[in-house]
Subunit: 238 residues, 2 copies
Amino acid sequence: MAETPKPEKLTGSAKVYKQLREDILRMDLAPGQALDEVGLAERFSLSRSPIREALVKLAGEGLVQVLPNRSTIVSPINFQDMPRFLDTLDLLQRATHRLAAENRTDAELAEIEAAREAFLEGSRLSIATNNSVPHIERNYDFHMAIARACRNPYLIRFYGQLLDEAKRLGHMRFQFKSQTTNLTPEDLDAQHKQMVEAIARRDGASIENLAHEHANLFRGQFMDYVMANHTQRVAVEY
Amino acid sequence: MAETPKPEKLTGSAKVYKQLREDILRMDLAPGQALDEVGLAERFSLSRSPIREALVKLAGEGLVQVLPNRSTIVSPINFQDMPRFLDTLDLLQRATHRLAAENRTDAELAEIEAAREAFLEGSRLSIATNNSVPHIERNYDFHMAIARACRNPYLIRFYGQLLDEAKRLGHMRFQFKSQTTNLTPEDLDAQHKQMVEAIARRDGASIENLAHEHANLFRGQFMDYVMANHTQRVAVEY
DNA sequence: AGACGACAAAATGTCGACAGTTTTTGTGTT
DNA sequence: AACACAAAAACTGTCGACATTTTGTCGTCT
């Protein structure tokens, strides 16, 4: 109600920032790809100033890397640090979700439940249309709805940054149609439902466990992606 | 050896960024103070472009806040979220320091020990010259040296951001000469020494405890600052 | 006297152009 | 043909100026 609908007049650089951010998170822009300022300026029909501003902002979040006097590139996905990434995701997911269960208001619980339902719907839509966006986006929304309820702006910010990166990984997995995972939307929703119930009971220990298992699930999905052999049907000797 | 000494030719906006960052963290720029772009441009003898770029970068780190179409201001110190800040500092300090103990190399241990000695020296210098900078700066260096040894770039980044804010709080405390704390440099060094020993033993559980106590010490110092009555010698009836 | 509205001043947002590097291209030599 | 060096193209870093938005002031009207 007290929320502005959305169509607020955005400044040029803000539009570029928002668009590029979305493109990067959805892997529409490949990691490592060079982002030419003049090219982007033409694409958005703007001068280079707002483009630069957007790129600097994105660099602050680690989504792009500015190579001094060279082109800025979309941040590559760092496989070397992947174990550390997953560790940190686990830690902050446990922290945010536990605190959320312990500090939530009824209004926040309702929002979380709504986000859960939206995820189930989005996940089914993704299967039906073979488009990963709704599944991943609504999953992100669900966990961020929980994180917001923890009321710790620092944890929310850090966890959000990790989830952004997780989004990229999720889309990467789907791009290769690695449907090896036989988890249905209903399976994932069952986990989410358990989480919501734990939050409803204010059961911190329980949701910390669930968050840990959920993080491990993500870890496993990522492992599947790496281990999957996409060329096994191709005979080397023919 | 493979490290460039330092006098690399810095770009204009990088110099502005570095200088402003230092000024903000040392509280030479007061929280809430407006940062006028044209004024800064004159001060640094540069155009507004590099100034803007520096401000956008600082905004990404949360050190300044850009109010759209209005002036950017130095981020105010948020007392409302202080408990959450201290909680998060505790959590990430425990995590980084424990992992550091478990994963450190001998070279990193040596660096940590060197940082401890530098802190003791700096802390004494601060008492002697009544200048908080060496004490706080070397304390920051000590804990960051430990954090770097944890080898988790995500935790290092997040913890570093929290320590930046802690730096501001430390300087704020000293600005009011709130010498109520009767902790000598030697007292603090004793705690640091225990930490180094625990890291040397690779004793994760022990250093997690020490890190927790150390964070609580900071919490207490901050409480002292808030509770201290700086006007008690002023009689209301005279 | 207080409120509303137009005007003026100042700051931010954007633009096009120039300067300094880096990368690419092209040429000549070994 | 391969390498070294030099010219050129392309891109980033910076600048000064213009456009737009906001803030502050003044005057008028009720």
